[in-house]
């Protein structure tokens, strides 16, 4: 529009045959038109900016001590629902204490140019960014926060606040509800398809193998204890370290069959020393929660003394090996629980009912 106005001004040169007065009038008219167009355009830009920043005007949502600050573009009911449900998810699936959320301020899609959150009185609390997702076409978009995003943000922050053992061991998404049957399938696949020897020992029913697979003990030499040289050598072609191995002397020795070199090579790199991938570890926590409740998970995760196994056992008051063997059964049966009763005890209620009904039939008369 501005370009058009400029073009009009430039093209408004006097034409031969026009009197100076006429030219002057015409120039003034065009100039006034150009100025009017410019003012309109400026007003439009200001309105657009205003509309943009109004979307980011903060809206404070609170629930059970937790605070979520989102821009006005996110409907209040939507944000309230997300915060309530997110906190419920964390409470139901354990691990994150309720008071932890009270120490933080979750925010997303807010105008933070003029220290908005401090002005709202949240300066002393730790700020945590939460994902705000956009939906709909670009011409009329809508924004929303999900309960999952709230739960995830809090869980990740809580995980980062824990001691080094938990930070190292806790899998991603440990506190959100992915401990479903799909997860048991994932844990089953991981255990039965892993090329690692500890997985084989675990499938064969060896408790020590399962403990090493899950890496729940404080092993003195994690790589040497949990992996054999052959395991590590087999891992090389599948890992991102294969090029580094052939380029280094120790890696080369590993490829050539020296087990100690494999241990040294992997230990020197930032390769995870936990054989069990995430689904297996999530599975252990999920199974633990289903057996002993969310409170037990919360107690175990808050504990800072001893190994992961010792913390879990202390929180639930059970035997370490029974927990691990229970998990093995749960994994290999994809969600099954070992039988608690004998077949006779299972059959007893049905047989008692049958005897009672038969007694009624024997005594009765057909009418």
């Amino acid at each position: 529009m501005l370009a058009l106005a400029a073009l009009l001004v430039v093209s408004a040169t006097p034409v031969r045959g026009q009197s100076p007065e006429e030219t002057d009038r015409r120039e003034r008219r065009l100039l006034a038109r150009a100025e009017s167009l410019l003012a309109q355009e400026e007003a439009r830009v200001v309105a657009k900016k205003e509309a943009f920043w109004s979307r980011l005007r903060p809206r404070v949502i609170q629930s059970r001590g937790a605070t979520l600050v989102v821009g006005e573009a996110v409907p209040a009911s939507d944000a309230q629902r997300a915060l309530d449900s997110g906190l419920t998810l964390l409470r139901t699936f354990g691990a994150v204490p309720e008071q932890f959320a009270g120490r933080l301020v979750l925010y997303g899609m807010v105008d933070t140019r003029r220290d908005t959150l401090s002005r709202l009185g949240f300066g002393s609390r730790r700020l945590l960014l939460v994902d705000v997702s956009q939906a709909g076409p670009d011409s009329s978009p809508s924004w929303s926060v999900s309960a999952d995003a709230v739960a995830r943000a809090l869980a990740v922050e809580y995980r980062d606040s824990l001691d080094v053992d938990w930070r190292h061991w806790l899998p991603y998404g440990y506190a959100v509800p992915h401990w479903t049957r799909a997860n048991t399938w994932g844990a089953f696949q991981e255990l039965t398809r892993s090329p690692l020897s500890v997985a084989g020992r675990c499938v064969a029913g060896e408790v020590a193998g399962c403990r090493l697979w899950l890496a729940i003990d404080r092993d003195t030499e994690p790589f040497a204890d949990r992996f054999t040289g052959a395991d590590l050598r087999n891992l090389l072609p599948k890992s991102s370290l294969s090029n580094a191995a052939s380029a280094s002397e120790v890696g080369d020795a590993c490829i050539e069959g020296i087990d100690a070199a494999c241990v040294s090579f992997f230990r020197a790199r930032s390769f995870s020393d936990i054989p069990a991938p995430e689904a297996s570890r999530r599975g252990l926590l999920g199974h633990f929660r289903s057996l002993y409740g969310a409170d037990a998970v919360e107690r175990a995760v808050a504990d800072t003394v001893g190994s992961i196994a010792q913390r879990l056992v202390r929180a639930a008051g059970v035997n370490e090996d029974s927990l691990v063997m229970n998990w093995r059964y749960w994994t290999l049966t994809r969600g099954g629980h070992p039988r608690e009763r004998s077949t006779a005890a299972d059959a007893a209620p049905g047989l008692v009912l049958a005897v009672v009904l038969l007694a009624l039939v024997v005594r009765g008369r057909r009418s």
């Binding site: 089953f188 997985a199 049905g350 047989l351 005897v355 038969l358 024997v362 009765g364």
Partner: protein, 219 residues
């Protein structure tokens, strides 16, 4: 006298017993079809085999249910067809007659159970299992037999009960279904039949034997 009742009841039940026995015999052998030598097999194959064995293990409770349902209703079918004339003409008290009918039905229910036991034994001998995996042929057969017997006894008692008893049973089931429909119409998220089924199939519910793990091969 028991022999006569047994022979008469066999006439009505023989087809069902034959088919169910065949079915009971075949099911445990299905697990073997997925492979016999697992002792030296890779873990991946053992995993696949476990999944297949678990799938096969889903059938026996249904067959046990079928055995109980069919034999329970067939036990009284001849009496219902003959309007109880045969039973009334016998020089027997009702209690003894009912006991004989029950005994005959229970004996027939043992035949599929025995077939299940036999084929479970054959399946166990046919597979060389890797360490950590175990076979439970005796427990499987016992569970199957007890489940069939329980369902048979319940159905036998309902089918052979007084008309008043049958009307009460049908009315209770009808009322539960009607309540479910009413709840559905009013948008109430509650199902009486679902809750009742949960109570019946979870221990100490009388049908809890039908649920739970039925695997012939387990970890």
């Amino acid at each position: 006298m028991f022999k006569q009742v047994l022979v008469a009841q066999w006439q009505t039940s023989k087809l069902a017993v034959g088919l169910l026995t065949l079915l009971s015999f075949c099911i445990p052998l299905l697990a073997v079809l997925y492979g016999g030598d697992l002792a030296g097999a890779g873990r991946e194959r053992v995993g696949d085999w476990l999944i297949a064995a678990d799938r096969v293990a889903q059938f026996p409770p249904f067959i046990a249910l079928l055995v109980g349902l069919l034999l329970g209703t067939l036990a009284w079918s001849a009496d219902l067809a003959g309007r109880h004339v045969y039973a009334l003409s016998l020089p027997l008290p009702r209690g003894l007659y009912v006991s004989m009918r029950f005994g005959a039905g229970a004996l027939f229910a043992t035949i599929p159970g025995a077939a299940m036991g036999l084929s479970s034994g054959i399946a166990t001998l046919a597979v060389s299992l890797p360490p950590g995996i175990h076979a439970y042929p005796v427990e499987m057969a016992l569970r199957f037999w007890l489940a069939s017997l329980t369902v048979f006894a319940i159905i036998f008692a309902i089918a052979g009960g007084t008309r008043r008893g049958q009307v009460i049973t049908i009315s209770v089931i009808g009322a539960a279904i009607t309540l479910d429909v009413v709840f559905l119409l009013f948008g109430v998220d509650y199902s009486v039949t679902a809750e009742a089924l949960l109570l019946l199939t979870n221990w100490p519910g009388p049908l809890s034997l039908l649920t739970g793990r039925w695997a012939l091969f387990d970890v």
